[in-house]
């Protein structure tokens, strides 16, 4: 009788083991995966208005809608559920489409028109206002502007690649203020810098994609930190294409090569990753853009899947973890 019981338990355990492993075992091998919930995933592939063809640049608007720029040369504004609210065409798009867009101080759109060496300015509903920028490597000129951000000082910061990989600072009406950078892998140099964002302390974070790292600068261009290397572990990056600022100083990096989003504390410590390669909600295919909207939803431009995803995360926990991890480090800034 005892023996039979023992056999029964052994058989049950054998059957239960795969199930248990699939729930707990796999999670353990993937490292610090952040818990998340996909709130929205939408996007119909196509080149017609209302559809998306390789969306790369996204910008959540204060009213809850979101701007998307894709490979078909459209700037579209969707409601957070994917209903088209506005759509207009860029002046030119055959050579390539923008990857950087931000709001200026008046709430209008600033688009870094990557393959046309200029910044385009629009009203929120798509009226073209002005542009500036000309092709060249000299200070004030640009080759491929990849990202644009509005600084706390009101200046426009533009990342650029293709000739002189650098960050340039312009006044809102296009006057050149400052530049720093250069092609290379030393701190302060860049190899294909892509997205950029300001954190809550006024520091500028730049996604240095070709060097697989993040660099933090102050508004004068001094390097505060340069960290990261190519890899899959937390703290490592694979072609980081965009940076965004979350609440509480937490920064987000979308990794084109690792098909995921990584969360980083203000001190540069990794707070975890979410996402993997694939087509299901919660998975990404070569994502190019990341942004955080006013409700603290994380939006990802899931480029190769021709869609946008909105993700909920537990910010409180992330902020807490960030504080704990940063306390354990020397703070240099």
């Amino acid at each position: 009788m005892r023996f039979r019981l023992f056999v029964l338990i052994a058989v049950l355990a054998l059957f239960a083991a795969p199930g248990a492993w699939s729930i707990w075992g796999r999670r353990a091998s993937h490292g610090p995966e952040i818990e998340f919930r996909v709130a929205r995933a939408w996007g119909l592939p196509g080149a017609q208005p209302g559809q998306m063809n390789l969306p790369r640049a996204i910008l959540p608007a204060p009213d809850g809608s979101i701007y998307v720029i894709d490979r078909s040369g459209h700037v579209q504004r969707f409601s957070c559920d994917g209903a088209l609210a506005a759509c207009w065409r860029l002046p030119a798009w055959q050579s390539g489409t923008p990857t950087g867009v931000c709001f200026d101080a008046q709430g209008g759109l600033v688009v870094a028109d990557c393959h046309y060496a200029r910044l385009l300015f629009y009203t929120p509903d798509g009226q073209f206002e002005r542009q500036f920028g000309e092709y060249g490597e000299a200070p004030g000129q640009m080759i491929f502007p990849t990202g644009v951000a509005l600084g706390p000082d009101g200046a426009l910061y533009v990342t650029e690649r293709g000739g002189r990989d650098r960050v340039q600072k312009f006044s809102p009406d296009g006057a050149f203020l400052q530049e720093w950078g250069g092609f290379g892998d030393q701190p302060g140099q860049f190899m294909r810098p892509m997205g950029l964002a300001f954190d809550d302390r006024g520091r500028l974070w730049v996604a240095d994609a070709g060097n697989h790292r993040l660099q933090i600068f102050d508004t004068e261009g001094n390097v505060l930190r340069a960290f990261g290397q190519r890899g899959k572990a937390p703290g490592e990056f694979d072609y980081p294409y965009d940076v965004a600022a979350g609440p509480g100083g937490v920064m987000l990096v979308v990794e084109y090569g690792n098909n995921r989003v990584q969360f980083v504390s203000p001190g540069g410590a990794s707070l975890g990753v979410l996402g993997a390669a694939g087509r299901e909600p919660g998975q990404f295919a070569s994502p190019w853009g990341v942004a955080v909207d006013k409700d603290h939803l994380v939006w990802v431009a899931d480029t190769l899947n021709n869609r946008l995803q909105a993700i909920e995360v537990d910010w409180k926990r992330l902020i807490e973890e960030g504080r704990m991890k940063d306390k354990g480090q020397r703070t240099t800034d």
């Binding site: 119909l44 017609q48 759509c87 050579s95 990989d165 070709g210 090569g257 190769l304």
Partner: protein
Amino acid sequence: MELRFTSTVWLLLLVPAVVYVWAMGWRLATLGKARRLTVLLLRTLLFACLILALAGMEASRTNDDLAVMFAVDASDSIPQELREYSLVFVQKALEQMGRKDRAGILLFGGDASIERNPQPQDPQGKLEKFESVPDRTQTNIADAVRLAMAALPADAKKRIVVLSDGNETTGQAEEAARAAAANHIALDVVPLRYQYRNDVILDKVVVENQVSVNEPFDVSVYVESPADTKGKLHIFRDRQLVATQDVTLEGGKKNRFVLPEQVKDSGFHTYSAQIEVPGDVNPENNTAGSFTMAQGEPRVLYVEGGPLEENRLVAMLRAEQVQCDLIPPENFPHDPAELQSYNSIVFSNVPASAVTRGQMQLIERVVHDLGIGFIMIGGEQGFGAGGWQDTPVEEALPVSMEIKHKKVLPQGALVLVLHTMEIPEGEYWGREIAIAALNVLSSRDLFGALAYIYPGGEQWLVPLQPAEDKAAMRRAIHGANNGDMPTFQPTMQMAYDKLKACNASVKHIVIISDGDPAPPSPSLLQAMRDAKITVSTVHIAGHGPADQSTMKKVADEGGGRYYQVANNQELPQIFVKEAAVVRKSLIFEEPFKPIVQSESEALVGIGRDEYPILRGYVGSEPKDLADVPLITDKKDPLLAHWRYGMGKTAAFTSDARMRWAAEWFSWNKMAKFWSQIVRWSLRAQSSRNLQMTTTIDQGQGKVVVDAVDDEGKFLNFLNYTARVITPEYKSDPLEFRQTGPGRYEATFPVNQVGSYLVSAEAKGEGGFDDLISGGTSLAYSPEFQSRASNDALLRKLREIGHGRELGETSFVFDHNLPSGAAPRPLWPALTAMALLLLLMDIFMRRVLVDWAMVKAGLAAAGRWIASWRPRRRVVEREERMEALLGAKRQAIETKEAETVRGALPDRGDLLEQLDRIEPEEDLAAAASEPSSAGSKAPREKPSAAAADEKKPEGDSFTSKLLEAKKRAKR
């Protein structure tokens, strides 16, 4: 859910089965009533399942969803206004879509391509215009219908709406419509109606295929017109206007106009005619042409791969009365008919990248089928060093480019870096260039390919390895999921690492990209230079000046070439050229004296030792059946020749220029040598015994040959071996039938616009053997021959497909169709169910379940799990036994003690009585003590009470003892 049966006849068994089951029920009499009933029911169900399975029960989900596929005719026969009408019709129809309806669009012409897959109505997405571009020179309604059938989803009601004029030029639309109807797909038509009342059509130009110089012949022009009208007829010879006539056309019949003509030069001449009628609606079908050959001195087409002014051989040949036309490779004709003027073709130091693959095929065809000769002369760009491996030209030559017999050959290594994602049809071109490059490499050369793949990143599609299994390498490149490459650094680093480590004498990298990725680091480029690894870049679909500078810089620093490609068709040639860089190892540049290995008619009159030295040659391997009269000092072929099909080809692996043949130019027999070889290769002239005329009529090509002997008598019962070369350079056999005295006819299908060349060899009695060639051309696609839409075909299709004729006001998305869902067969489920029922039946009949025991067992199990102290129980039992035995002893001692005080009955009785008290009862009583609420406890109590009651009249002494026992237990 609909239920259907495939063979309903089995259902007849249901009733007999039920009767059988219930009749056999008497066998179950031994079972209880309830059980018997259960078993009977189970058996009924079981038989029912089996019978339903046999009857092939199927369930199909009725789906009210509708999917519609619009097939829009975009061929040239559709006038512009009707094309716009199609677009508007589809747009309006899409607006009518129901919420759950799905609609897709495909465009067709000669082929069909999907514009949009069936999808639900997209409220934002408005169809602006059609984007796909199918082949417009034909109309293939059958393919369109078949593609629509494949694109429609399986689980919905299906309609195909065909918008067309019904003028199909190829394919069988009715068959396709029948297939659609068999699949429950309704076929609606939207006729695009038109009628050209004023369309004048120039039907054909007829001229004899072979004429003689300065002999008159007739050129006939046939024109059709629906009504009487006047116009101007222009005749062109070799694209020059030679005559203009005012002509009157009679309506409704074929008008024939004859023009007497003659030519002064030998060779190939084209004749075309154009009819000009004011008010003609369709000018595309107003031209037609044909061509003729004027026999004269044989001519040679000499293609020089180097600077033309440096060529000295042509002058020599001309001095020997060999007529030569000297051209650079870019002027080599694409039209087969143009090559008819020549009796032999010479390629001198021409690399394979200088001509297209189509031209190579053309050369092979005209040599094989028309008997034109071909000679390849080498140079540092000729033969293997020029990349001629695995080309159609190599097939025609008497040598092959791969040297197999040499033991030690330096190898080359080639790495391709593929970034083709942004290139239109990038996957296709990636494959094509890999094929082109691989063809040039020998199996000893190393080949590798790198790309950025989603999701893995930069990786080797083909790791650097000898190019032995080229097919597998091509497959590996074709299957790759090419992604957008962010920078060149990782892939170039990977290429550098492997190339540096490998053992090749020439190391080369070719990058193909749109220029967007970031450049590699200067240190990597320097390291490559130090390791003698060269880099060329091929730049496609550039994004602007900056990418140019990235790719150009890399090529400059890499010591390679930079190509900016506007037309993707140039790509394979570029890659052949680049891959040939790796093949420079085939050139042997040392002086040597030619050795005569065998006799040849080309070498008549030149002694064995008379050949001057040559300074270099390209290595090659002779083919088995080839003649190799001259070899080099290393035993490689120098001069080889053989017959290929109807023609003769020769290969000379050294050159005829100053670089390697300087000593020959001062040799008095050089001209003799070359003129003999060229003359040997010339195509045989045809006699005047055969006359050929080729025409195109009603979409069919027709060849008529008239054969007479030298006395003018008809030649009958000739056997023909004949072929036709199509505009796509394909060669098809022709069957000739004798249709009259001395007259033979053959037909061939005509689908493509372009020139068709015909070659026929006639053999007959008395050793008659003659060769004649000719041809004709199709000037405009059959699309332009139709004057009106073909309503009859459309009506037929609609009838076969049970569809409607739709117009502007029709409601396209009508749901009145039978459901199209494919039914799911249920027999597997039914059989499984039957098995289960069988098991239950057996269980019910054979297994006697003691429910009381089950209940008891469950209760015990429950208690046991709750207690979970198995060992303690056993120990307790033993303890209880001990206690009992101890109590027994004590009781005996007490009794003995009491015996002392009072008189006792016989001790033995007492002992017996004591012993008779069953220990189990006590043990059970003992067991019931620790458990809180054993169900046995109440039972024991009554029995204990009963035991007590049993012995009241017995010995009070015994009861006292019992009590003492009980006390001792506690």
